[in-house]
């Protein structure tokens, strides 16, 4: 029995050490440096909470938070609505189901960065061509060049790509529902709409919870698609928090300052995840 105990310990200790060294330790270092004026190189001093106060007064940081949340919330909602719709469609009695399912999942296997470059080309060259041909004012210029519309371009790419994975999760959820439940409902004369809210939705609610939390977290980290599409521009209209930490932390010599930003970001993310789980789980129980 002692041997068995040792065996289990041996199984987890290396992982624990590695995980601590490359995940927890950098996080602790980040917290440590956030109280200094370290540039990433050279000498440093302790500065107390100065960096934290500065983040709250930093227009650039605040606008990055504003953009990131606006983007993440809209993208999360859209992705989930569209995914549920596609999943229900794919789950109904249709032709070519396998081919269609394979097509809808395809974007998931592609690199976000490269997809971003392809869409950037479409926004720059294809859409204005179509917009001018059809005389649609807002399409006739590159929407990525418009600070009010650029974020929608990023949302579009995010939805195009992320709907794939979420659709699959909802499909998995739908496949757990027994057909007989529907048959019973249709005998009772339930309309399709009522059928969705009364039967389908409650049954896939657990999937909904997970999808919302996972999608939200991924979108809050948005980096690749923004690098590819706008580089944070025009102006600083689409600079996400990840991009700000990367750029400011290295190029701007703001290692310590962006570390403070990262700590704040972390607290925000944890708070949001907890709130989301609480709210969504309560609805499930209901």
């Amino acid at each position: 029995m002692v041997k068995k105990k040792h065996a289990f310990l041996l199984m987890v200790i290396p992982a624990f050490v590695l995980f601590f060294t490359f995940h927890t330790y950098p996080a602790l270092q980040g917290i440590f440096y956030s109280f200094t004026d370290y540039k990433g190189y050279g000498n440093w001093d302790f500065v107390g909470f100065k960096n934290y106060f500065n983040v709250f007064q930093d227009g650039r940081a605040l606008s990055a938070y504003g953009f990131t949340f606006q983007f993440a919330i809209v993208a999360t909602i859209l992705v989930n609505i569209i995914s549920v719709l596609i999943a229900i469609g794919l789950n109904s009695n249709i032709k070519l189901r396998k081919t269609l399912r394979a097509t809808y999942f395809l974007p998931y296997i592609l690199s976000v960065l490269i997809v971003g470059y392809i869409f950037k080309f479409m926004f720059t060259h294809l859409l204005p061509q179509i917009g001018q041909a059809l005389n649609i004012e807002f399409l006739s210029t590159n929407i990525l060049g418009n600070p009010d519309l650029a974020w929608l371009g990023i949302v579009l790419v995010a939805v195009w790509q992320s709907a794939a994975f979420n659709t699959l999760l909802y499909l998995a959820g739908l496949s757990t529902i027994d057909d007989q439940v529907y048959e019973a409902a249709s005998i009772d004369g339930a309309k399709p709409w009522a059928r969705f809210w009364k039967i389908t939705f409650p049954l896939i609610a657990p999937f909904f919870t997970i999808n919302m939390v996972v999608a939200m977290k991924n979108f809050l980290m948005a980096f690749d698609q923004i690098v590819a599409l706008t580089g944070g521009g025009p102006g600083q209209a689409t600079e996400s928090i990840s991009l700000l930490i990367y750029r400011g932390g290295f190029q701007g010599g703001e290692f310590a300052y962006q570390s403070a930003n990262a700590v704040i970001y972390f607290i925000v993310i944890v708070a949001i995840s907890i709130i989301q789980l609480r709210v969504l789980e309560r609805r499930e129980v209901k």
Binding site: F8, M11, P26, K98, L106, S111, I118, Y246
Partner: protein, 273 residues
Amino acid sequence: MIGNRANWKVTILLILGALFILLPLYLTITIAFKTPREMTGNLLALPQSWSIQNFLDAIEMTNFFQALGNSAFVTILTVAVVILTHSLVAYAIARNLHKKFYKFLYFYFISAMFIPFPIIMLPLVKQTAMWGMDNLIGLVILNGVMQLAFNVFIYVGFVKTVPKELEEAAIIDGASTWQVFWKVIFPLMKPMHATVAILTALAAWNDFMLPLVILSDSNQYTLPLVQYAFQGQFSTDYNLAFASYLMAMLPMIIVYIFAQKWIIGGVMRGSIK
């Protein structure tokens, strides 16, 4: 589902949606074959000839095969490491969850799912460079660490459903804990291995941010990173750029075409657990 008649309305809507999914890929393929002169006309037209010159140029310019090798190296090694080690860790945790230490470990590991990478990025970059890990091996190790949370989560979920009787029988036969794992549990985990392998492979293959900040030497750049690095030199030669993009995406697309059912099945299985 209800009635056996095919629902044509839904079928057609879904086909239209699928066309929207395929449009960017159609553009990528056609533009990759076009010449710059053809770019002034209708962008949606088919290329006048199917010349592979753009691909040859892109291969030479971006040193494609080297990047392909780097991507393949990182992806294969990451998948191997992750499957061999994460399943082991998850097994040990799942069988000891009643003990405080293991319960702590479980939550400690999976809490990382909620920690976005940028938060630890700055110190991590410094640390890995200092320890000489700003290379492909370092990338594999970091991939292993970053994926641990999710993989432990789904492996533990699976091990919990495996009845203990199977192991007990092996123990009576004189097997050690290690042997029980490798001979009984590991093979049983096969469906989970598939899920983990697919998700890990996709994450490692398509990753951009981690290679961007970790790798220093451009000879070690992975495929997405190469596309980024050559943006300035592609400049407005979209034909060359798209040929390069297409080649970077092609390995995964080919794998997907042949293993589509298996991949989709693997991902769905992971989500139900």
